[in-house]
């Protein structure tokens, strides 16, 4: 029953929280750049406008892929907040990402094509670290079920500090923040137009935005998992990590894909595997 309520809460409130979060993100970013910045509700205005716009597509099926991307992102979050299997959550997140990539490929413009390829590389970059994190959580708690992980009496960060750092590193990729906003970003890409989202307009783009809101809330949930034994501290630290990502976003230029891939795998090997190794020793 409790899990049903938390899923319902996620489905209803995640878009509002996610939209507000991205609005606050833009406001903070603007302040960091010495600008006034848009209203914190700007993301909602954007999506409302996009829903009112005409839908222009290159191929009709590209919107279907985006719809599946949207559904699977929601499924991922719902599964997570229902207390489901962490591995299944990760695989469903990957599946959602694959649908997004397929949508980008389907649109078949050079920009969205390159964007989709970069998105694939990004997925390749963050996937090992995320999986290692799941393995680490299993080694500590003895379960993959989020519900039981949440009920673990000590904060996981005590056992998995290096894995947590590694996860924060790949979060920059997942949140589409500079220096790893290779495939698409909020700021106009000069070399790639809007990357993977270039060919999506109107309602389809709105759907992508809303999916990202859902995704961001789920990702914050993943951070929260490391401090689950103390919920208030968990929420504060999850938001602190998000703020840290905004700082990173504003202080780095975009890196090449080679660096993204190599560095995130290096992080996965050193921080991820190192932490697992230590767990075995202890």
């Amino acid at each position: 029953m409790l899990s049903l309520i938390s899923v319902a809460c996620y489905l209803v409130f995640a878009p509002f929280l996610g939209g507000l979060l991205s609005g606050i993100d833009r406001k903070i970013t603007a302040r960091m750049q010495g600008r006034v910045g848009p209203s914190v509700f700007q993301s909602f205005y954007d999506v409302a406008k996009l829903l009112q716009k005409e839908s222009l597509v290159v191929r009709r099926s590209q919107t279907i892929y985006i719809l599946f991307f949207f559904i699977f992102i929601i499924f991922t979050g719902a599964l997570f907040f229902a207390g489901g299997d962490l591995l299944l959550v990760i695989f469903s997140l990957t599946l959602a990402g694959i649908f997004f990539v397929l949508g980008g490929f389907k649109a078949s413009s050079p920009y969205s094509y390159v964007g989709a390829m970069r998105e694939l590389i990004q997925m390749m970059a963050y996937e090992p670290m995320v999986l290692i994190a799941a393995v680490g959580v299993y080694l500590v708690t003895g379960t993959f079920y989020v519900k039981q992980i949440m009920a673990f009496n000590l904060p996981l960060i005590i056992f998995l500090p290096a894995i947590f750092l590694g996860l924060v590193y790949v979060f920059t990729i997942k949140l589409r923040k500079s220096p790893f906003d290779l495939s698409t970003s909020h700021h106009g890409h000069q070399e790639l137009v809007k990357g993977i989202t270039t060919e999506f307009s109107g309602p389809a783009l709105a759907l992508i935005e809303i999916a990202h809101w859902y995704e961001n809330i789920f990702l914050l949930g993943l951070i929260f998992l490391f401090f689950a034994s103390n919920p208030i501290l968990g929420i504060i630290l999850a938001l602190a990590v998000y703020f840290f990502e905004i700082v990173i976003d504003n202080s780095f230029a975009r890196m090449k894909w080679q660096f993204t891939l190599a560095s995130s795998w290096l992080v996965a090997i050193i921080l991820g595997c190192g932490n697992l190794f230590l767990l075995f020793l202890i």
Binding site: R26, A30, Q33, G34, R35, V36, G37, P38, S39, Q42, Y45, D46, A48, K49, Q52, K53, E54, S55, L56, G188, H189, Q190, V193, K194, T197, T198, E199, F200, S201, G202, L205
Partner: protein, 149 residues
């Protein structure tokens, strides 16, 4: 239904055959000094995401197709703002052999922002003026579709 386009007008900026004076003024509007993002305005650089088409400079034989293409790729409702005197009429380049004239020779232009170069304040004014036209445009297209039914 209320139109949200006023709250988040996204821009695509195209340089026809401008001397770059007006382009710099357009970009100046993005700087912390003017910060048009506080109105929700984003320079998208992508016609499929854009609501407002800013053109600087006159149209020549080579970019005629490009302007037409960008205009057609923008989803409705959309408006076109001609920035600078060259985009209004061709300006001092009007009599050149390769210049066709302002963009209004090939696509419908909604707002003209004169000036050489147009000042950032004038450009922002032009965009705001365009947004108020947009409501009329939406109302008109609705009336049209109703008349069809």
């Amino acid at each position: 239904m209320k139109s949200f386009i006023k709250k988040s007008p996204w821009i695509i900026h195209y340089d026809g055959s401008s001397c770059n004076g007006c382009d710099i003024e357009v970009l100046a509007a993005l700087t912390p000094m003017y910060d048009i993002e506080r109105f929700g305005i984003i320079n998208t650089g992508n016609p499929k995401h854009a609501d407002i088409f800013l053109i600087t400079g006159a149209v020549n034989e080579q970019n005629k197709e490009v302007i037409l293409n960008i205009y057609e790729q923008m989803p409705n409702p959309k408006i076109v703002v001609a920035v600078g005197i060259c985009a209004c009429s061709g300006g001092i380049f009007k009599d050149c052999y390769n210049i066709i004239g302002g963009p209004d020779k090939i696509i419908p232009v909604d707002v003209y922002v004169p000036g050489c170069a147009a000042r950032p304040e004038a450009i922002i004014d032009g965009v705001v003026k365009g947004l108020s036209l947009l409501d009329e445009k939406i109302a008109k297209s609705k009336a049209k579709s109703k008349a069809k039914i």
